[in-house]
Every structure is written in structure tokens, then in C-alpha cells.
């Protein structure tokens, strides 16, 4: 039984942070979930979709985050409880709606789970989406433990309903993607029915609405003053206080213990970080002389605390605040126990070594020789490898120094060796097409390079269509290449509008990419990138034409294909492969460089790594000697 459906209040189970958030929503009796996938948030809607039928709740993958938020808000306006989940970049996509729904207000509990990715492990930035709470005057909660991830989510619905505003629940990768103990609560009976009444208009008497928003926020602040998610740990009269939120709590606790400072350093852990529970904070800082602020990623808490301290009467003793501004913590990248301990040790003038030097040396000696040097690459069988090779070839044949504007998806790796360094710009969802539509107008300024915009199938629906329409409308010279691998692959192959199935796995209407392109009025062709030579020729031909045009390279993610249809065996015919006597110069394992293709140093021949090979067989079409064969398909 799933930990989401387990109806045993009081039982402790191991849960991933995102599952705990989903469980919290279930315990709040959530009715509606909408999301666009994005690491590290995707498991929240996935978990809810898996139990949607069980609980009779509705779960959908939306085309993008703003649509998800709008759809979820509709449920809220009809009196239901709704949750949206997104990665940090998704909050930007929502921003326009966020900055108006705050004014109109909401009805049923509405929770926005924003999962940030400090260090951008799976992202193109590491923005701190807490800033949106301050920007939009919305209440902000930050879970620090797995238990809190669940409990805080549940409470967020109640708070949202109470004050009539969406509530932002901000997680980070290390909370969302780690696992810990969670004590289950009760699963309530769900009894709400949807009914809309009244009016939710932002833009009418805005200053009055804005003022009302401030009052709602003050109401939230009052709730925060007594929140169980804020606590203090340590000696009552500590002169040194670590203030922290979110992932910083566990790092701080470990760091204080590692330095043996439990008896002199207190930790003030806040779960409600915007607006700050000011009385609560001041009360716990009144004996402090020094404060170190530990948080991921921006000095958000730090700045708010500094403002709060500055507002205190002059009679109050000055408190030294350490953090990103003082340089004790970075203010960029993720943090960990070591970084916190080092900051503490520096301030306290203590000696601190992350680990014993001898141990570090020995670990290096043991581990490193076994690790092959490896750049980030596409999965074995990934169609993008062939697509980007075709793009590279077509641009080279074209000979006008054409280049590729990149977008967000697995193919973002095309900016590196995996995609032969083809992507020359990389920003946010849809940016490749928008940039290309601009480049395509520069002919009048002497620009003579062809521009190829790549975008994934899911990205196409999410954000690239307006750019394509712009290119068409303004007659820009753009070749858009849709790298259609049949799903939102990078985040776990979630379905999208052309996948033919919905979030709970049921058949769904198919929105065809090429039909959209035709309706926009651009030339569109669909090709299989595994027919590499044909793909090159057709791309080359399209590059010769002015205006906006679209090539859809359609080939399903082969990891999924192999999983569903079984893996074909691909092998190297050792008689046909002539190794370094071939003019190919190890093309398969050196240039094309699929992880399934390896060079056998003993035999001096190419070899297939059958463990990782997915059996896609594209290498068989590329080997100039025909030495690579697919079993049952030998030519």
C-alpha cells in the first residue's frame, strides 16, 4: 500500500520530502492538483496522481505552470482545496497570475509548492523563489524536516482558507528528494462540492485591494507568531544564535554539535518566514549578541531580520549579524553541514577540519582510479544525440556559420560534448524560439547566419508556441527543430498534450505538434532522427528557405521504448570492425560517443556495453563498415 493511502494515524513511515508534501495535501483533504513537471517538484503531483482514483481527487499535468496555477485557482474559487507544484523557474512562469490573484484573493485552500534547486543540479538557474512571497505579499512556509513537509502542507491549506490568499510552501532539493521519518495523521473524509459565486476581479480599486492584501498578510503574521513551526533549541541565555529556515535547520544542528557548541549556541528555527513573526523573533534574540543566518540560497531571511533589527528601539543592544553579506556563508550554491560549521568556527575562532587529511587522501586513492572521467551525456539510445549530429552536419554543409539557440529539456546537454557543443544559447522555457525569432530579423543589419531553435515536445506546448507565431507573424528567418521524444523526458517522462494519455494514465486526446505548426502557417516536416542522412538532407533543404519553418524530429525516448517493448541486442561483428585500420577513427565510441559504445582496448575493436545499451540501433546505421548489427535485423 502506498504511504499516501495508508490510513494508520500515529504510524511512522519513511517518506521522500515530496511524498510527505503530497501526504500533507491528502490529510488536508485536497481535491485538485495541477502541475507542470520540474525537478525537484515532480513527485508531488506524481504521488497525488497515483492516488487520485483512490481518493476521488483530480490530478492533471498542465501545459505550463501558469495554466496549472490558474486551473488550481479555479478549484479554489469554487470552494475546493487545490495544490500546484513547480520548480523555481515555474514560479516565474506563474508570476503574472500570482501578482493579480493576490489582489483578487482565493476561497478554498490553495497551496503553491515551489521547490527550489540550490546549486542548479537540474536547472538553468538557482533562483530563490521565496522572493516571490515578499514580492506578491503572500504568506511563506519553509519545511525543515520531512514531518514538517507533511504537517506544514496540511496547515498551509487551513491558513490559505482563513486569510483568502494562496500560500507558498517553499522546499529545496535536499528536502524534496531526501527521505526521513514521518508520523502519519488522519485522512479526512472529503465532502466538498464545487460551486462558484461572487466575483474575483483584480484591477478594480487596486490601492484598496492592495491595502486589503496587506491586512490579510498581517493576519497571517499574527498566525505565525504562535506557529508550532517556529522553535528555539539551545541554552536559554545563549549570546550566539543561529537563525535558520528550511534545509538549514539540520545542517545547523549538526554543525553546532560537530563543534561541541551545544551549551553556548542556540538555534532559532523558523518555518514561517514571510512575513516574519516579528515579536517571536525579537523575543528569542533579546539576549543574543551575535547571530549567524543559515539559509539556501539568497540572504532572504538575513535581509528581513536585518530590517527587523534596524526597526528596534535604539535602547536595544546592537546585534552582529553574520551570513552571506559578511561572507561567512556563500549566498550562492547549496549549503551543507561543513559550510555552516566552517562559518561558525571562523566566527568563534575555532579549529575545524571537514575530515581527517589522511582519510581524505586514502579515500581519493581508493575511489578515483575506479571512476572513468566522464562528461555529462545523453542516455544510451537518446534520439537527441542523432538529432544534434544531424543539426551539426546540416549547419556545416550549409556553410554560413549557422548556430543553435537552446531551450530547456534533456537536449540542454547539447550545449556540451553530448550534443557536439551545438547549443549556443540557453536560458528558460521557450527562450530558444524567441531568441531565434529575433536573430532571424537581423538580416537588415548584415546578419547572414542561419538560426536553428531547438525545443522539446513538452517545451513546445509550454512556452515555444508564442515564439513560433511571432516568427511567422513577423516573417523571421527561423528553423525551429522540435526534438519530440514523446514525453516530458527530463523530469521522468510525464505525459504532455501530444502523449495521448493523462496524468493518471488514462487515454487522452492528442494535440499534434505538426497540426499546430500548419495552423500557424509555417512549413513543417516530420522526420526520424535515426534516419540520420535523410534528416541531414531535409534540415539542409529547410535551411535554404526563408521565413519560419519547423522540423519535428520524432523518435521516442529509447529508455522508455526499451522498457516497454524489450531491448534488442546490438553487437559488433568483430570481423567487420577493423578497429584503427578503419577510416572512422573510432567514430562510434569517440565522436558519437553513446555510453553504450565502448572501445575494447584489448581487442582493439569497438564493442557494445550490453549493460547500458538500450538497443536503439542508430549506431548500426552510422558505422561506415556496417560492423554494428542489431540482432534479428542484420543487413
Amino acid at each position: 500500500m502506498s504511504t499516501l493511502t495508508l490510513d494508520r494515524p500515529g504510524q511512522t513511515v519513511l517518506m521522500m520530502g515530496n511524498e510527505a508534501i503530497a501526504r500533507g495535501a491528502i490529510e488536508a483533504g485536497v481535491d485538485f492538483c495541477a502541475a507542470y513537471p520540474g525537478t525537484p517538484s515532480s513527485e508531488i503531483p506524481e504521488s497525488l496522481a497515483r492516488v487520485a482514483e483512490h481518493f476521488g481527487l483530480y490530478a492533471e499535468w498542465s501545459t505550463n505552470e501558469i495554466v496549472a496555477l490558474e486551473a488550481a485557482t479555479a478549484a479554489s474559487l469554487a470552494g475546493l482545496r487545490a495544490i500546484v507544484a513547480m520548480k523555481q523557474n515555474g514560479v516565474n512562469v506563474c508570476a503574472d497570475f500570482l501578482m493579480t490573484v493576490n489582489l483578487s484573493g482565493t476561497k478554498g485552500g490553495l497551496v503553491i509548492a515551489a521547490c527550489d534547486d540550490p546549486s542548479a543540479i537540474s536547472s538553468s538557474n538557482e533562483q530563490d523563489s521565496r522572493n516571490f512571497a515578499r514580492f506578491a505579499d503572500l504568506p511563506l512556509l519553509e519545511p525543515a524536516t520531512f514531518q514538517e513537509a507533511k504537517d506544514m502542507t496540511k496547515w498551509a491549506f487551513e491558513l490559505s482558507e482563513k486569510i483568502g490568499l494562496p500560500c507558498i510552501l517553499r522546499s529545496v532539493t535536499r528536502i524534496s528528494h531526501s527521505r526521513g521519518n514521518v508520523e502519519l495523521g488522519e485522512i479526512p473524509e472529503r465532502t466538498r462540492t464545487a460551486h462558484f459565486e461572487g466575483a474575483y476581479i483584480s484591477g478594480a480599486f487596486v490601492p484598496i485591494q492592495h491595502s486589503a492584501l496587506h491586512q490579510k498578510l498581517a493576519q497571517a503574521q499574527e498566525e505565525f507568531e504562535s506557529s508550532e513551526f517556529n522553535w528555539y533549541a539551545g541554552p536559554e541565555d545563549a549570546r550566539f544564535v543561529v537563525m535558520t529556515s528550511g534545509s538549514g535547520w539540520l545542517y545547523s544542528r549538526e554543525a553546532v554539535a560537530a563543534l561541541g557548541l551545544e551549551n553556548e549556541v542556540g538555534i532559532l528555527k523558523l518555518g514561517t518566514t514571510w512575513p516574519l513573526p516579528e515579536r517571536y523573533v525579537i523575543e528569542h534574540l533579546k539576549r543574543a549578541k551575535e547571530v549567524l543566518i543559515v539559509e539556501e540560497t539568497d540572504p532572504f531571511l538575513e535581509q528581513n531580520v536585518k530590517v527587523l533589527l534596524a526597526e528596534q528601539p535604539e535602547t536595544q543592544d546592537r546585534i552582529e549579524v553574520y551570513g552571506a553579506k559578511s561572507g561567512h556563508l556563500p549566498g550562492f550554491g547549496d549549503i551543507n553541514q561543513d559550510k555552516v560549521a566552517r562559518a561558525l568556527a571562523t566566527i568563534k575562532g575555532l579549529e575545524y577540519r571537514t575530515r581527517d587529511e589522511q582519510y581524505a587522501k586514502k579515500a581519493g586513492e581508493l575511489a578515483l582510479p575506479g571512476l572513468p572521467p566522464r562528461m555529462p551525456t545523453f542516455c544510451p539510445g537518446c534520439p537527441h544525440r542523432a538529432s544534434l549530429w544531424a543539426i551539426k552536419a546540416a549547419l556545416k554543409l550549409d556553410g554560413r556559420n549557422g548556430f543553435v539557440t537552446g531551450d530547456i529539456g534533456c537536449y540542454s546537454l547539447g550545449a556540451g560534448p553530448a550534443g557536439f557543443w551545438q547549443l549556443k544559447t540557453l536560458h528558460c522555457m521557450g527562450a530558444g524560439t524567441g531568441l531565434a525569432s529575433g536573430f532571424g530579423q537581423l538580416g537588415r543589419f548584415g546578419f547572414d547566419q542561419p538560426v536553428v531553435a531547438v525545443c522539446g515536445d513538452s517545451t513546445f506546448f509550454h512556452a515555444a508556441i508564442p515564439g513560433l507565431i511571432n516568427a511567422r507573424f513577423n516573417n523571421s528567418n527561423v528553423l525551429m527543430v522540435v526534438l519530440d521524444n514523446g514525453g516530458t523526458a527530463m523530469t521522468g517522462f510525464q505525459p504532455h498534450p501530444s502523449s495521448g494519455r493523462d496524468a493518471v494514465g488514462k487515454p487522452a486526446p492528442v494535440v499534434e505538434i505538426e497540426e499546430i505548426c500548419k495552423a500557424i502557417g509555417v512549413d513543417v516536416a516530420v522526420r526520424d532522427p535515426f534516419e540520420v542522412d535523410q534528416a541531414i538532407e531535409d534540415l539542409y533543404d529547410m535551411l535554404q528557405n526563408d521565413g519560419a519553418k519547423v522540423m519535428v524530429f520524432r523518435r521516442r525516448c529509447y529508455l522508455v521504448e526499451a522498457k516497454e517493448k524489450g531491448k534488442r541486442r546490438v553487437y559488433v561483428n568483430a570481423e567487420k570492425c577493423i578497429g584503427d585500420d578503419c577510416g572512422c577513427a573510432r567514430f562510434c565510441s569517440r565522436v558519437f560517443n553513446c555510453p553504450g559504445l565502448i572501445w575494447d582496448h584489448d581487442a582493439q575493436r569497438a564493442r557494445i556495453d550490453e549493460v547500458v545499451c538500450t538497443g536503439c540501433g542508430v549506431c548500426a546505421t552510422l558505422c561506415p563498415r556496417g560492423a554494428i548489427a542489431v540482432e534479428g535485423d542484420e543487413r
Binding site: K392, L397, D398, G399, Y540, Q544, F587, P624
Partner: protein, 367 residues
């Protein structure tokens, strides 16, 4: 042959210098060099210092005398037309072949005959106007496939890429019909120290060629003039017409040759060979005579095939009048002189003939 160079040298000295003939000799040998239409590019340097690509290119250094010795066993005595055994007029014996072909149908007839006679099993040919202006290289295995390729092309296609592909898949006897640059490349492939796809080539028929057009230039020029997908025939009628005639399903269009000349590939102006001097047999038009070809037999292989073909009625021949022969020789000589003048104009040095390696004596005949 000068060797010791690889694909980056090919890219620098030939492709980037505008000398590529898009013959296809370097294509389908490795995964690094690709052709689309009549454009060849090195997609990524392979890193191999000495490449077959450089070795077999018709625009990398070519020692004409050495190649003469390799192909004909001796150096040429006719500096205008290259080595030959005989020159006649010829036409296909079968009038239906002639009606599909551009002129006398000799090439189609000879290739079909060579297949029927078991001299070759398949032939690498070029199929014109397959729904586009761009001709496409084809491997024909029977006479109907051969007839599909009848007719003249004025855009060079990478015919030898098809040979390289075919040679990888089987070792059967292959015939090749090619332009002078393609025939030259084919002979360089055969003389190469590398293992090439040319070993299986048992018959080489060369075409006469004055120049070829760039696909892109011609396509753009014709864009609003003819429907490229319905082109049936290109022809340049003899002077003084000075036009190119394009026959489409919708009728015939005549365009000023001077406009068309704008799109001659830059490499054609340094071409030294009008009559495919290294072929077994060379075939071209006879100016002013619609249904006959000029036929130059150059090698023993060519001679044997022609004799058999005559005997069995595949082709008919008659003598080429002396005046016409003189005219042909003069045209060929003029092409050589123009080529040398252009090369010297480009190199700025009378002793630097770019890809051509000629003895001082030979060089002086043309400068």
C-alpha cells in the same frame, strides 16, 4: 600521387578554396564527410593524418603523366584529347533507347549491353530530375534502371558517393558513368594506396563536360521561371542559339545562356578535362547532330566492349568527319588553356598550377 594529407587539408585546399567538384569520391568512406545536393562538407575532423579523401580528390595534386601510365601504360601523345585508340560517331542500335536519351543513346546502350554481356553486374549512374532539379546518384542493376538515368544533367551530383556505398555492400563488378572530374577521381581511387571502393570497377564511361552548374544558384534562378518538380530535360542547343532549353511537363522554356553561366561552379573554370580523358570510353554530343554521339575509345577494356557491342548491334558507328574532330580537339584545347589561365590567375605564379602536376614541357603547351 601526393599523399600524407587528411580531411582538414581537403577542407582547406579544396572545399574552402571553391575547388570541390562534388564528385562524391570522399563521401561514404567515413562518417565525417557528408554531401547534400552538390555541397560537400567535413562535418568534424577525423584526426587521421593521411586520408583516402584527400588522396582520391580530383582537385588535390594530380600528376597527369603518372596517372596516364597507371591507366594506359604510357603517357599521352595527344595533349588535347588525351590518350585514345579511336574516335567515331555512334548511336544506340535500339531507336527506343535513342528516343529516351539526350542524343544518340550510346551511354545507355553500352551500359545495358555490358550488363547483358556479364561484363558488369551493376552500374553507378546519375538519375536526372527525379522530382527535383538535383540529379541523384543511382545504382542500376538492369536495363530499365539504366534507361531511367538517360539524359543530360547540368548539375554535378556526388555519383562516386554511390560507388563508395555500393562497394561496401558487395564486391561484384561495377560500371561507372561519370563526368571528367568523377572519372579522374575514380582513377585516383584505383591508384590509391588505400583500400577504396574502386577496385571492383570494371568499366568506366566518361562524359564530355564543359561545366556544371551550382544547384543552389540554378534553383534560385529558376524559382519563379519553371516548376522544378516537372523538369524533363535540359539541353544547350548548338551555337549561335546561346540559350539553355528547359523542357517541363508544361512546355519548354529558353533562358539566355549568359544568365545561366553565372551559376557555373567555380571549380569548373580550373578543369583541365573536357572529354573524360581517363575513361575507358568517352561519350559526348556531336555538335548539330541530334541523334548521334561522339565516341572516344581509350583503353583495351573499352575497345573490347565496343567491338562486341557493334557486333551484336547494341550500337552502330560511323566515322567522325575530320572537320568535326578538329573542332572537338580545338574545343578541348581551349578548355585546357582557359583552365590554366584561370589557375595562374588564382595562384599568381605560372609555375604553380594548383592541383595540376604537369611537366614543364606539357605546361608550356597550354600557358
Amino acid at each position: 600521387m601526393e599523399t600524407g594529407k587528411g580531411c582538414l587539408d581537403l577542407e582547406n585546399e579544396v572545399i574552402n578554396a571553391g575547388l570541390c567538384t562534388s564528385c562524391g569520391a570522399c563521401v561514404n568512406v567515413c562518417p565525417y564527410i557528408k554531401v547534400v545536393k552538390d555541397t560537400v562538407a567535413v562535418i568534424e575532423p577525423c584526426g587521421i593524418a593521411e586520408g583516402q579523401c584527400y588522396d582520391s580528390c580530383p582537385r588535390t595534386p594530380t600528376d597527369i603523366a603518372a596517372l596516364d601510365r597507371a591507366v594506359f601504360g604510357k603517357e599521352r601523345s595527344d595533349s588535347s584529347l588525351g590518350p585514345y585508340l579511336s574516335i567515331e560517331m555512334a548511336q544506340a542500335g535500339d531507336s527506343s533507347v535513342r528516343s529516351r536519351a539526350q542524343y544518340g543513346g550510346v551511354v545507355s546502350a553500352l551500359v545495358s549491353f555490358a550488363m547483358d554481356a556479364g561484363e558488369i553486374e551493376s552500374a553507378v549512374l546519375t538519375r536526372p530530375f527525379d522530382g527535383s532539379l538535383m540529379p541523384s546518384p543511382t545504382l542500376a542493376a538492369n536495363s530499365s534502371g539504366v534507361l531511367d538515368c538517360a539524359g543530360s544533367n547540368y548539375i554535378a551530383s556526388a555519383t562516386l558517393a554511390q560507388l563508395n556505398k555500393a562497394a561496401k555492400q558487395s564486391s561484384e563488378a561495377i560500371g561507372v558513368v561519370g563526368l571528367p572530374c568523377q572519372v579522374l577521381a575514380l582513377r585516383k581511387m584505383q591508384a590509391s594506396k588505400h583500400e577504396t571502393g574502386a577496385e571492383g570497377v570494371k568499366l568506366t564511361i566518361g562524359l564530355f563536360c564543359t561545366w556544371a552548374l551550382s544547384y543552389q544558384g540554378l534553383r534560385d534562378f529558376l524559382r519563379d521561371k519553371v516548376n522544378a518538380s516537372s523538369v524533363r530535360r535540359f539541353d544547350i542547343p548548338p551555337p549561335p542559339a546561346n540559350v539553355m532549353e528547359i523542357v517541363t511537363d508544361a512546355g519548354s522554356v529558353k533562358l539566355p545562356l549568359d544568365d545561366i553561366r553565372e551559376f557555373i561552379k567555380p571549380t569548373c573554370s580550373v578543369c583541365f578535362d573536357m572529354t573524360s580523358e581517363f575513361a575507358d570510353i568517352s561519350v559526348g554530343m556531336v555538335e548539330g547532330i541530334e541523334d548521334w554521339n561522339t565516341l572516344i575509345v581509350r583503353t583495351a577494356v573499352g575497345k573490347r566492349l565496343i567491338e562486341k557491342a557493334k557486333l551484336e548491334g547494341a550500337i552502330e558507328t560511323k566515322p567522325l568527319e575530320e572537320a568535326r574532330l578538329d573542332h572537338l580537339r580545338e574545343a578541348s584545347l581551349q578548355k585546357k588553356k582557359r583552365a590554366i589561365a584561370e589557375i595562374v590567375r588564382r595562384t599568381g605564379d605560372e609555375s604553380d598550377l594548383s592541383y595540376l602536376r604537369l611537366s614543364d614541357g606539357d605546361r608550356r603547351k597550354f600557358v
